[in-house]
């Protein structure tokens, strides 16, 4: 095993990527109906721009918000708006969504047109194109990309990192994207660099994807400002702060953001979405997801329209193989468990992983103080102590021990020999502390 750059701590879970890493991206058949939630991103939800009975075209903007931290949504297919109503969202809550019945005509909206040559576009125009295309971080967090590209005037960004680590087990959609769409990826990277006005970018890829590293090196050969960096295959190598540390050796300050040290991180999928928005004018209405796990017959990498139901995507991967015990949106370490497979695929859905047997322990035992969680914590925290403070409702003490620095990677829960739900306690504690603080300031 090669020794690529990395960070301190972390874990080496079985990656199971072989299930789908050799499968070329398959364009899924169009769904009969799409459910497009108005909230698919971090920030303010959109207000619908269409109403029941309206005829919409593919790529037409159907929801937008005045708020800065928000991203518009577009019709993934052409068809008729069947309803604007509360529907179940992968987050587990019901949120307002626009339901469109597909008429199969694939009528493109008149607003969809190529935006011209990248060289001719200025930074402001590129940012506007990204906002109008509704592009958000496709790694899973779904933070609006145009917000990240507009740092406050006192923060100067000088390095862009494109995240191609894909450190979560089972997921291979970014791997396939780097292999099959490397040209667009480089184009998107250059567009983001231009929007930021910088000339230096790194593409970080874990060294279990040697073919992707080779493909990307070939694609960036003629651009001296972009460099491909091989990183050690370790979880959470793709976490923003760990990725920055591995590539640049810099640490994001406690409580700070990457922009505080002049760095911007974007997912490979986001860069390709930017390229698509400029080259063809098509907004973010489809994405690549991995459908994998022992619970599906033929694991696949699928190109799906936003709003397609989980059921349809699972069907496209050969259907369920037995009775699923657990279905996760995203990777098994940070993903969200689903209880209803009628939920739609949203912008932040990187994959669907199906398990027929439970891999996680169910009965926690008392902490034996072995310190393994301390060894693996990539944020240098003491998860067991913080979790105990949270469980005892001593939030001030937990915050003093660095609770808010937790990146929720789940390494602590993964290694705990006593099967304690450490990361869940920490996540709860973070929510509680934030709620408490916002109550104090308001």
């Amino acid at each position: 095993m090669s020794r690529g750059k990395t960070f301190k701590g972390g874990i080496y879970p079985a990656c199971h990527k072989e299930l789908s890493s050799g499968k070329a991206i398959l364009t899924m058949a169009l769904p009969k109906e799409v459910v497009v939630p108005l909230q698919q991103h971090i920030g303010a939800p959109c207000s619908p721009l269409v109403k029941k009975g309206d005829i919409v075209n593919k790529g037409q903007k159907i929801g937008d918000s005045e708020a800065f931290i928000s991203a518009p949504i577009h019709a993934p297919v052409s068809g008729v708006v069947k309803a604007v109503e509360a529907r179940l969202h992968p987050s587990g809550c019901k949120t307002q969504a626009i339901v469109i019945e597909n008429d199969g005509e694939e009528r493109l909206d008149s607003s969809v047109a190529p935006k011209g040559d990248l060289e001719a576009l200025d930074a402001g125009t590129i940012k506007e194109i990204i906002r109008e295309a509704g592009i958000v971080g496709l790694g899973g967090a779904a933070f609006p990309t145009h917000v990240k590209l507009a740092p406050p005037p006192d923060k100067k960004i000088d390095v862009l990192i494109i995240n191609g680590c894909e450190c979560e087990p089972y997921l291979t959609c970014d791997h396939r994207l780097m292999l099959e769409q490397s040209e667009q990826l480089v184009y998107g990277t250059r567009a983001i660099m231009k929007a930021l006005g910088i000339d230096k970018a790194f593409i970080g890829i874990e060294d279990n994807k040697l073919d992707a590293i080779a493909a990307m090196e070939k694609a960036v050969a003629q651009y001296s400002g972009i460099q491909v960096v091989a990183l050690r295959t370790k979880y959470p190598q793709g976490a923003e702060k760990q990725l920055i540390l591995a590539i640049t050796g810099k640490e994001v300050p406690v409580g700070g953001l990457p922009m505080d040290i002049g760095i911007e991180v974007n997912n490979v999928g986001t860069a390709v979405a930017v390229a698509t928005a400029i080259q063809t004018g098509i907004p973010l209405i489809e994405r690549i997801i991995t459908v994998s796990g022992e619970g599906v017959r033929e694991p696949q990498n699928l190109l799906v329209r936003i709003g397609t139901s989980f059921n349809d995507a699972l069907e496209a991967a050969g259907g369920l193989n037995g009775t699923p015990k657990k279905v996760i949106m995203g990777g098994p370490l940070t993903g969200l468990t689903q209880f209803d497979l009628s939920v739609p695929i949203v912008k932040g859905t990187s994959g669907i992983v199906v398990f027929n047997t439970l891999k996680t322990a169910t009965h926690p035992e008392p902490c034996i103080r072995c310190g393994r969680c301390v060894d693996v914590c990539p944020q240098y925290l003491v998860p067991t102590n913080i979790a105990q403070y949270v469980d005892a409702n001593m939030l001030d003490a937990a915050a003093e021990w660095g609770l808010l620095n937790c990146c929720e990677c789940g390494c602590c829960s993964y290694v705990c020999p006593a099967n304690r739900f450490l990361v869940q306690s920490l996540k709860l504690g973070k929510e509680e502390v934030r709620a408490e603080r916002s109550k104090q300031t308001s």
Binding site: S91, G92, C93, K94, L336, T337, Q338, F339, D340, L358, T360, T362, P364, D391, F421, Q424, S425, K427, L428, E431, E432
Partner: protein, 277 residues
């Protein structure tokens, strides 16, 4: 040798007397006048430091009573008995603190009545369960049964019943309100102790959705509203709510309720707490 012992004993003794005299003088000279009533009131209070009065602990409440900020009947835990004592210490007439309140859990959907949509595996905390896909219960408004309220109770007045719902011990409950804050679904309210008719549902869903998830949910049919002679129960947003100021405990609404979402405590129709331990 003997000399050393005598010299040290005498000198230490002399220093002790000297310092003692100094301290005695200083304590008179720099004495801080404190109101003895604060100590008396603090002694009269329950001493649980629960914060239900709105002050950080019993001492702070006592100081505030003497300082004129807090009413003599401001301790909800102590009730009338403590209010009378505090009033006596303060030399005022005891004010009527109204009827004693107790906590009431407004959900009747136990294991047997309400549907679970998933199995929850994780820490025993209702707030944590909600963060995982909104909790395992089919009803978005129902009790998750992970006992956050029970753990929050400083008076051991709550226990979890066998049916997965918390039970309030009315004798022990002091209406401090800790459980009200702890419940992430806002299912607990403080109600007058004498009131025995309650709506055990907080679901704003329409009737069909309620029935899908729970046998004993309020479907918003308004039968209770029509039968009530005292204008004490009203349905808004598909949910019945009792105005306890008008309710007379007649139980007509409970008898009429088709889903038995309305119960009479200690009565015949008490589905939710039948398996109380």
């Amino acid at each position: 040798m003997t000399n050393t012992v005598i010299v040290s004993l005498v000198s230490m003794g002399a220093m002790g007397v000297l310092f003692g005299a100094g301290l005695a003088w200083a304590s008179r000279k720099f004495a801080v006048e404190s109101d003895s009533r604060i100590d008396e009131i603090e002694a009269a209070l329950p001493g649980a430091n629960c914060g239900a009065c709105g002050y950080p602990g019993c001492r702070a409440f006592a100081e505030s009573v003497v300082g004129g900020g807090a009413p003599v009947n401001g301790c909800p835990v102590g009730g009338t008995a403590v209010a009378t004592q505090v009033a006596k210490i303060m030399g005022v007439e005891p004010e009527d603190s109204g009827e004693r309140l107790v906590a009431r859990v407004h959900c009747g959907g136990g294991h047997a009545q309400a549907k679970q949509r998933a199995d929850y595996v994780g820490i025993d905390d209702c707030r944590a369960a909600i963060m995982v896909g909104g909790g395992a219960k089919g009803c978005e408004y129902g009790c998750l049964g992970l006992a956050s309220c029970v753990r929050a109770c400083p008076f051991d007045a709550m226990v979890m019943g066998d049916n997965g719902l918390p039970i309030v011990d009315k004798d022990r409950c002091t209406a401090c309100g800790r459980c009200v804050v702890a419940c992430p679904r806002d299912l607990i309210t403080l109600v007058p102790c004498s009131k025995e008719v309650h709506v055990l549902c907080r679901s704003f869903d329409r009737g069909r959705e309620v029935r899908d998830n729970c046998q004993v949910g309020c479907i918003g049919c308004k039968a209770c509203e029509r039968v009530c002679e005292y204008d004490a129960i009203h349905v808004t947003d598909f949910l019945a709510a009792i105005d306890y100021a008008k309710c007379t405990n007649c139980g007509a609404c409970a008898a009429k309720c088709p889903t038995k979402a309305i119960i009479i405590e200690n009565g015949q129709i008490q589905l939710a707490e039948t398996t109380a331990s």
